[in-house]
Symmetry: C2
Subunit: 124 residues, 2 copies
DNA sequence: CTAAAGTACAACCAAATGGTTGTAGAAAGC
DNA sequence: GCTTTCTACAACCATTTGGTTGTACTTTAG
């Protein structure tokens, strides 16, 4: 009943596109060498239409770009989007580092008002 | 009819878990500060059971770990898995670099037998 | 011109996803 | 003890997903 849940973030699309082994394989292939959709399709044990849909999912996520060349559609990887996803994950790691650093500094202040949590996370 | 498609790779699970804004937000929260499931649930406009399911998806992907503490279940982030995903994406970027380098070396050999593809990819 | 190759897209289907409510059990509070 | 809190899980539902086949259009080949 909630109609306004049209989030479908860019990150949603990117990670969803990567959450399938066939699609990750397509990304690997077209990152190394651009290929037509039918050339790609020949490499998988599924119909042409199925591969076409996988490419469409990757395209919506901007992980690949299609470029019409004569009668065929050439697919090549878009590394900019891969980097965007990488950076997002790296930010999570930074959040963790920031938190650890924060805990350490709080502990070293040792004002010790009335805290009883975060006892076993200060090592490492 | 094809029953043997029980791939469900680790990467499938990780990226699928990350393909939802609520779940990414949960990861951000528990990376910064471990929290009980009900504390997490209080932060979202959905039922406790729904949040519980999201945590379960993150747990299956090993992006978070649950630790029973008394009657509550404490969720904290597992950075090792985030790093694993990051590395996977970085490998895609490396594949691209390798390919560009390869094309360059082929061109610089300038033996030029009978190639007619890969004409416009040597710049950048 | 005609045939084949490459693509697009609709219709259909089974299974998974993301949400709900309801019931039940274990731990803590009074 | 009894009640509340926190959790687990089943059942249900609508929508999405990932696959199929079939039809039609455009471009190249002969």
């Amino acid at each position: 009943m909630v109609v306004e849940s049209v989030v479908d973030d860019e990150a949603d699309r990117i990670f969803h596109a990567l959450a399938d082994a066939t699609r990750r394989d397509i990304v690997v292939r077209v990152v190394q060498q651009e290929q037509s959709v039918s050339t790609l399709a020949a490499g998988y044990a599924m119909s042409f239409a199925a591969v076409q849909k996988h490419v469409a999912v990757l395209e919506r996520a901007a992980l690949v770009v299609k470029e019409r060349r004569g009668r065929e559609q050439i697919v090549h990887g878009n590394l900019e989007t891969v980097r965007r996803a990488t950076r997002l994950l790296q930010r999570y790691e930074e959040l963790w580092r920031y938190r650890v650093q924060n805990i350490s500094s709080i502990l070293s202040e040792d004002r010790e008002e009335d805290r009883e949590e975060d006892r076993e996370t200060e090592n490492e």
